[in-house]
Symmetry: C2
Subunit: 368 residues, 2 copies
């Protein structure tokens, strides 16, 4: 694995050099993990002039789910408790004669940035911007394999829930049970706070579970994901409780299903982000559901659950092969509830069979 | 409740005026909640020239655990999805003729700060520093009552765990079960990631649960807390598994217990933070456990699980009445395990009976 991290760092270094900084300080945890193999709490990565250095507040945790620091990296642990690894890194850099440093201005606070300047007044601080986030967009097969395992775990957890009795149980309990099942099946933990929404809550994106109980006739929408070796996937499904869905429920379900399928089918290398969004969105729009539509139809996933790209009307850019994204349109009718259907897929060229569906739980409307 | 939030904002405004800023922008979520009653995701609070304004990315969530925005506040929801409420607030302020604004430089990123400057070039940005964090240190009885309920919930969850069979179960499962029980008893959720540590892991502060199973003869240390209406408490206990603890286990337990008691007894209005720390620390030190001692003996709790004050050798300042703190010394012997004992208490004057213990689970060494 060590070569993977080294080659990521090499690519980043090339970008830095091209923009005039010889060295860079990475502080955003997912970026540190991407480049160093692990991101112990508070750690920063210094791409130095001669060598790269992981600066930690204490000894790294040794659990597979947390990752292990690349053995090619020197690990430096602060001796003084409560010290700031970013400041220590700047100090080390000055000690070896560095004079310019690119930092992540979208992650560093103003106060930390000022502290860096005061510790190393001779150091010219530049902005690294989202350079690491951009490197992270296209995944290698190792990363996709972690996402695939995470998706299998989420499918299993969801499948088991569907076999249990649901009526009378609260959203909060169902969410906790799903999270326990994720861990049972080998997840590091949930990829994000599991959402379970019943009745009038169903179909709301990111709904936080309440004490409302599942009732006959409800829509039940569930969104969960597993984190596996740091990689986070997402699946969302909507079900009907009871034997016979109402006509409006079947209609709404079919509509969201059609939108979600259109979004999935639009995924291809070279497709514009906004065209994928439009493919799904226009189906909901033309059925009169433009009010209250969410801002995104989908987004990238990886070491964070919401990464670039965004699939939205205003997004600029095009998909590449090997980019994992969600496709998750939904409609929520205030007071009645709604439907969300959410898959994680990997963009693949037509020649390789088109988009690879990671979350394979059925999207038929199940009456439970 | 509305007067509570209004009076907190008045106190903050007085501090701002004293340091030359007529207006302030609060972005750190716990600070927003403290002053506004709720902190919807991404929301910021503008203490304006004429009125105070909560600027949100969308309509506030309506759950008691999330808090409700103070009704005396005007709530402004952004129309454009993906917009930054801080930028919108600065824009509004300029519109009404504001010329200076104190911001939380320890929370705002460099990139957001720059965006504020570019949107409102005429606005002089100052640093609010930790002014809100300082206001938050001393709690009112309403806040203490939330902590007390949270502590009861944590005591209940822990008590139930002790009645179940432990041998053979993994740290991760025990942690998940504790978190489920917290929610069963009415917590918003866990106050922090529940720590369960067995055998050689026991006694490590912040140990993250692994797949190690509880064995006969193990020390088992558990640290958990409930969040109740946003307020977070903490309890930690260490147990022995099996009928007869080894001599080294009894000795180590008695030592940490003595240190923890000394720390608790040192809590009083006017006591220096470092003296409380020293009271506990010197007992461990003089028994030869100075190596590897944690940097803190305890810390404040409230809307965040780690707040001011810090009870540590280098901390400056003195305790006030109505400050809730943890006292949590511990010793970890590499390869063997160790002991941590952790309570949440409220500092009270001698005349009121001295420190109020919120977490009342027994600290006798239980053999389970």
């Amino acid at each position: 694995m060590s070569e993977v991290y080294a080659s990521r760092r090499t690519r980043l270094r090339e970008r830095c050099n091209a923009s005039g900084s010889a060295t860079a300080l990475i502080s955003r945890p997912a970026n540190v993990r991407y480049l160093a193999g692990a991101a112990p709490r508070g750690a920063v990565l210094l791409l130095g002039r001669r060598e790269d250095l992981l600066v930690c507040t204490g000894p790294p945790d040794d659990r597979p789910s947390e990752g292990r620091p690349d053995e090619a990296l020197r690990v430096h642990c602060l001796r003084r408790p409560g010290g700031d690894p970013a400041v220590a890194a700047a100090d080390l850099l000055v000690g070896e004669g560095g004079d310019s440093l690119a930092v992540e201005e979208h992650h560093l606070t103003v106060a930390r940035h000022r502290e860096l300047r005061s510790v190393a007044p001779g150091l010219r601080l530049a902005d690294l911007g989202g350079a690491v986030e951009q490197l992270r967009v296209v995944k290698d097969e190792e990363e996709i394999s972690c996402l695939r395992i995470g998706a299998e775990i989420a499918d299993q957890a969801l499948g088991e829930l569907l076999e249990s009795i649901l009526v009378g149980r609260t959203e909060r309990h169902l969410a906790l049970e799903l999270e326990r099942r994720l861990v049972d099946h080998g997840a590091d933990g949930p990829a994000f706070a599991t959402s379970v929404a019943t009745g009038p809550n169903s179909g709301r994106r990111g709904h936080r579970p309440t004490d409302r109980r599942v009732e006959e006739g409800d829509f039940l929408s569930v969104c969960l994901g597993a984190s596996y070796r740091g990689y986070r996937c997402e699946i969302g499904r909507t079900f009907v409780i009871g034997t016979s869905p109402a006509d409006w429920q079947i209609e709404l379900y079919d509509l969201v299903f059609a939108a979600q399928r259109a979004g999935r089918e639009a995924l291809a290398p070279g497709a514009a982000f906004r065209d994928v969004d439009r493919a799904a969105r226009q189906i909901l729009d033309s059925a009169g559901h433009s009010e209250g539509l969410q801002e995104l139809t989908g987004h990238g996933v990886g070491l964070e659950i919401e990464e670039d790209p965004q699939l939205s009307p205003a997004a600029m850019g095009k998909l590449d092969a090997c980019v994992p994204v969600t496709v998750e349109p939904g409609v929520h009718l205030p007071g009645r509830g709604g439907v969300r259907i959410d898959d994680t897929l990997v963009v693949r060229p037509e020649a390789d069979g088109g988009p690879e569906l990671l979350t394979i739980t059925t999207k038929e409307l199940l009456a439970l």
